[in-house]
Amino acid sequence: MLHWLTLMADSLPSLLWAALVFTVPLTLASFALGLTVGLVAAVVRLFGPAPLAAVVRFYVWIIRGTPLLVQLFLIFYGLPSVGIVLDAFPAALIGFTLNVGAYTSEIIRAVIGSVPKGQWEAAYSIGMSWSQAMRRTILPQAARVAVPPLSNTFISLVKDTSLAAAITVPELFQAAQRIVATSYEPLILYVEAALIYLALSSILSALQVRLERRFGQYGGFLEAKS
């Protein structure tokens, strides 16, 4: 028992370091980039010319329909065969961004569509342009509805970054694997890694609650009890 505690305490700094240097930046960067891709993709699907919208539909179909791990392998191990050689971290960043982009584009498309048509008309009636209506009237209302499903994507992403271990990114899970290889204590190390993932996603859950409160101040919707 004491042995386990010592091992946990000894390995904690290197696991936290791996989380801080790889897991967290990878999560934040690919979520921010993915959200941007998702917003553009959603706007193209809703308002863009038909051929472009078809391209976006194809992109979403491919990304959602194939395993994330396979996508990462294709980018990191597959692309060098056609002369595109990427370091592990950028490869992972591209893979996760494309993945987040596909899933969030569907969320954003749905929440933009959920704002009543009358809100567009009200915005137009006071002289707003399409982009003013979008920015000032539609997106703020859509954002409120988007917080819970986008939080789902964000939280999934934190955990999914562990797949980057398979393409040699020395992130949290890989750090745990490496210590297991020398200590032969898989149970304790993997529990420890799991707890760190849990802590990270708990921070995001707390952030979700705060965002919901902020966006929810104008009322008129059913709120969660706790």
Partner: protein, 255 residues
């Protein structure tokens, strides 16, 4: 002056307006009445181009725009005409994420680039006018329907439009709440605000409108001064319609 000439509007195979011409004089209130599906809302929405007419000409004051089948007006042309109008919707359509006063300020700040301070001053004056100054900082969700509609009227008036368009402004309200809205619109009419309203509300039309246009099947059936048209309609079709309105009124059913 607003002049709609030969307005035709088709949605695919369906022709909703069949060459409608209506003239509204400055400072006058015109009510568009008629059965649902008769084209009154569509005609109203053709004035501020929320619907683009298939063909015809819309003139508001000095600004004029003609439409042809297949042609598409430029954004600038649309804005040129739309800028002359303000609109009040059946379901209020206040921006739920902005307070009452912010709703009224929105067009001034975002579109006309007024400084916030000045916009707030004008917004407060307008809220005062519609009797809503005491709720300036309230969220729309906390207001009654009548209160929301009064804020919406202030919002539509903020950019000083040449004409106020009202699309069934009292239809979503019970008789008591619609009373507050009728009162506000009556005050505006008395001050010489030019208005065009599509309505089923006999109380609203008879009390405020100077002229009435009766639309059915996408055509103007009859038009005339409101008192005359309501009491002595000439066409048989108009008589039947007015009779049903009065009957409903007497039975006290939401008019």
């Amino acid at each position: 002056m607003i002049r709609l000439s030969n307005i035709e509007k088709r949605f695919g195979e369906l022709t909703v307006l069949k060459g409608v011409s209506v003239t509204v004089a400055e400072g006058r209130v015109t009510a568009l009445i008629g059965p649902s599906g008769g084209g009154k809302s569509t005609l109203l929405r053709c004035i501020n181009l929320l619907e683009i007419p298939t063909s015809g000409t819309v003139r508001i004051g000095e600004e004029e725009l003609s439409f042809q089948p297949g042609g598409k007006p430029t954004w600038k042309d649309i804005q040129r005409l739309r800028g002359q109008t303000g609109m009040v919707f059946q379901n209020f359509q206040l921006f739920p994420h902005r307070t009452a006063v912010e709703n009224v300020m929105e067009g001034l700040v975002t579109v006309q680039k007024w400084p916030a301070e000045k916009a707030r001053e004008r917004a407060m004056a307008l809220l005062h006018k519609v009797g809503m100054a005491h709720k300036a900082d309230a969220w729309p969700a906390t207001l009654s329907g009548g209160q929301q509609q009064r804020v919406a009227i202030a919002r539509a008036l903020a950019p000083s439009p040449r004409v106020l368009l009202c699309d069934e402004p009292t239809s979503a309200l019970d008789p008591e709440l619609s009373g507050e809205v009728v009162e506000v619109l009556g005050t505006l009419a008395a001050e010489g605000t030019t208005m065009v309203m599509a309505t089923h509300d006999l109380r609203l039309a008879s009390r405020i409108a100077h002229e009435v246009v009766f639309l059915d099947g996408g055509e103007v059936v009859e038009t005339g001064p409101s008192r005359e048209l309501f009491t002595h309609p000439k066409r048989e079709r108009t008589q039947r319609f007015i009779a049903t309105l009065t009957q409903q009124g007497q039975q006290g059913e939401g008019v």
